[in-house]
Every structure is written in C-alpha cells, then in structure tokens.
C-alpha cells in the first residue's frame, strides 16, 4: 500500500508549491542573477553608458589591497562575534537554568536587547563609549586608559564587536536555554549519583546533548556577523577610522551607493554570496557530522 499522500490532480501540487517558488524566484534568484550580470559590467556614475568587461571587476577587486584588508577584518570580526556571542550566551543560559528563585526575572532582562534595532543598539553603545561624552569612556580615562575609537583602529573593531555581540546574546541565550531544558533530567541525576560534579556533568553530558542547538546557532551567527551587522557598522563607525571597520557588506554599500561604482559593488556582492554559500556548505558537510541528534 502506498503510504505517501499522492495528489491525483496534474496541476494541484504545482499550484500548492507555486507561492514559495514564486517568492524564491522573485526575491532571491532574480536579484542574485542581476547582481551576477552587473558584476560583468562597468558604468559611468550616472549609469548612462554601460560596457561589458567580462571579469575585469573581479580582477580589480583582488588586486585592491583595501579589499583584501576588508576580507581580513571580516574574518576577525565574524569569528569574534560568533565565538564571544555563543560563549557568553551559553554561560548565562547554564546559570539561568540552574537557579530557581528569580529565574523569570533574569530571563526577561536578558531577552530585552533582542527588541532593539541594530542601528539603535549602536547609538546606545555610543552613549557609553563616545570619545568625548561616553559614560564608560569617562571611567576609562579616570583609570588612565585612553579610549578613542575614532582614532584607534583596534578600539573601533572592539566597539562594533561589543555592539554586535550584545545585540545577539538574547537570541543565542533563548535557544541555549530551550536546549538545556530539553536535556533529560534523569541522565543528569544518574551522573550526579555516580559522583560527577557540575563541571564534569556539563562537559560529558549537557554540552554534547546541546550540539544540535550549538550547530544551528553557529550557522545563524556567522550569517548574522556577515550581513546583519551592516547597520551597526554604519551607525557606530561608518567603516572608519581609515577603513579599519569596513567589513565586506559595508564595503559593498560604500562602493556601490556612495562611490557609485556599480559594477565593482555588484562583483563584491557576488564574492560575498559565494563566501556565505561556501561557509554554509562546509558547515553542513563537516561540522554537522559531529552533531549528535
């Protein structure tokens, strides 16, 4: 007997998947193919004349030291944001899962930043870390540390990493907490009876059982660090000082919208798309094997 549900109608199944297909085609394949086509063209700044130049845009990009520097910045930035964001959220989730009294208060307070838009998050951190007006800057000055992200490239990177991590902690925290609560209590109690302390129980039972959650968050956080941090960079540093925080997605905007190099910008977005597709494939191919569902 056929167990699957089979539609007898020749057109009904296609009609049912049509909405998703149309949305994917219109909002993903169409713009992506346009970007690929435009990456092979050069225009003048008013897009009045267009010339087909094959892969000249890509050759120019990879001969541009500033573009290669942007790669390095993006790599450092996304590794830091993903790693710190996951580590802090896991730490807080583990302790929030342990406490009984006041647990709901802690959870509520930790989820707040998720309701803040990325640009607003950047402005809130500027209140704290602005070189002249910032509250934390004042404390750092009092301690003898000179904080000025407008002049210091490393401090500018630290600022956008802090803001991006802060914004993402709530999301990671929620998923880790849900993952922790689905770990069977009987396993943990059995380990406790066998004499395993909290740290040993965490590393031998809880952490491996969390691996599907961790893997999912790893993928989401890397994509977040690559794309969704644009507003943070734009509002906090504007890519400065001297391009020190111009991550790839910000450079696409800078070169395309501000500098009107449409072909070069399209080539950058094609490269960016290829990187994210490659990263996701690598993660599903190699990291997912280590995940125990």
């Amino acid at each position: 007997m056929e167990k699957r549900v089979v539609f007898k109608s020749p057109w009904l199944p296609y009609a049912l998947v049509a909405p998703q297909l149309i949305i994917t085609l219109v909002f993903f394949f169409w713009p992506a193919s346009q970007a690929m086509y435009w990456s092979l063209l050069i225009q003048d700044a008013f897009a009045a004349r267009t010339q087909f130049v094959w892969f000249d845009n890509f050759r120019d990009l990879f001969n541009d030291p500033r573009y290669l520097a942007s790669f390095q910045i993006t790599a450092v930035f996304s590794v830091l944001v993903t790693f710190i964001g996951l580590a802090v959220a896991l730490l807080l989730a583990v302790f929030a899962d342990r406490v009984v009294r006041g647990a709901r208060v802690y959870k509520t307070l930790l989820i707040w930043p998720y309701a803040v838009a990325a640009a607003v998050a950047a402005v809130l951190w500027l209140f704290l870390l602005n070189p002249t007006l910032g509250v934390v800057t004042h404390l750092l000055r009092a301690l003898g540390y000179d904080w000025n992200y407008l002049l210091n490239a490393r401090q500018a990177l630290i600022l956008i990493v802090i803001t991006a991590v802060w914004k993402q902690i709530s999301y990671n925290f929620l998923f880790f907490l849900a993952g922790l609560q689905s770990v069977p209590k009987s396993l943990i109690e059995a380990a406790a009876i066998d004499g395993a302390g909290p740290a040993r129980r965490f590393w031998t039972i809880i952490f491996p059982m969390l691996s599907p959650t961790t893997f999912f968050l790893l993928v989401v956080n890397i994509v977040y660090a690559f794309f969704d941090t644009f507003a943070i960079v734009d509002a906090a540093t504007g890519g400065g000082p001297v391009q020190a925080t111009a991550i790839l997605v910000f450079k696409v905007y800078q070169d395309g919208v501000q500098a009107l190099d449409l072909g070069g910008s399209a080539a950058q977005s094609v490269v960016l798309m290829a990187i994210v597709i490659a990263l996701t494939v690598i993660q599903f191919r190699f990291v997912e094997r280590k995940v125990q569902y």
């Binding site: 302790f95 006041g102 307070l109 930790l110 707040w112 930043p113 704290l128 509250v135």
Partner: protein, 55 residues
Amino acid sequence: MVEHRPIGSIVSHLVLIAGVAIVALPLYVGFVASTLSFDQVTAVPMQMTPGTHLL
C-alpha cells in the same frame, strides 16, 4: 539543580546579576539620556539618574 549547595547557588546568582547588569546597562543609559535636557546629556560625566525632560 541536582545538589543543594548554597555556594553554587550564590555563584549562579552573581554571574546572572553581572550578565544582566552588562546587558541592561546600555538600555538604562539610553533611557536616562531620554529624560535629560540637551545640556545635561552633553555634560561629562552624564548623570546616571533619570531627569525631568521625558515629556
């Protein structure tokens, strides 16, 4: 929690309070800034208690 260890419980609360303080600090400062006049916001250091200019 499986065991009942008062020290573990205190450490958990301390870590959570520190986490909440760091996470909520920018929101609090943003709120306080929204209740201050322009002169008060641009003063160094900015005051840390809500003012009277919210409305």
